[in-house]
Symmetry: C2
Subunit: 113 residues, 2 copies
Amino acid sequence: MEPPELSGCSPPLTREPLSAERSAAVARVFKALGDPVRLRIVSIVASHAGGEVCVCDLTGAFELSQPTISHHLKVLKEVGLLVSERRASWVYYRLVPETLADLSALIDVPASA
Amino acid sequence: MEPPELSGCSPPLTREPLSAERSAAVARVFKALGDPVRLRIVSIVASHAGGEVCVCDLTGAFELSQPTISHHLKVLKEVGLLVSERRASWVYYRLVPETLADLSALIDVPASA
DNA sequence: TGCCCTGATAGACATGTGTCAATATAGATA
DNA sequence: TATCTATATTGACACATGTCTATCAGGGCA
């Protein structure tokens, strides 16, 4: 399935209600972040020096099977939070900062709300 | 269940990986936002003039049964995104801006990442 | 070619989740 | 008290999801 089109530059949800369509698109991304393992994967990838992480680094970071990690990576890729690239035998995942930034802006709350 | 303790003022996840515990706490909130109906409810409450919305306003905004809306409101309350107050026969829901702001800060991405 | 190694996919299974109809509860009002 | 309105709770059910084992596919290398 295609990554949802979040298309930044829209008012934060504290300004006006989301349409049903946009809610559905955005909710897909939040849903992907709504699993502890996936959220942690994102944080590992996002904070990693060099900006990318090999799958082999991730499988070692959790007490979960390799297919399970692979499944979570697929989910994160499908919603546009990560992208992957194969180099030789290894696959590297990188953050798509725009996706996270769009979400952040969407739920941002004016200082003294 | 108690609202997860997000305790703001922690580095964004682009700075350092989340611990398993914090991932679990934060993921609960993202999970609550990961449903289109709930996300839309939050946006309606958050953007509503006066800062609060009566349940009766929400049941009219969706083609869903009243118990279903009530269920979603409960989920949003349990993770600390909304609070409710009863006045006479009506129950009013308000946003907890800190919870949303904490999330926003957590996933914020430095400008030219 | 054949063998490893890394990662993805398929299928199974238990648990979680969104929805509804039915019912219960809280408060107002007659 | 009886009754009406507004929400919440319960229980059921179909479907989604996280996990595993087993297997497949891509790419190096002998």
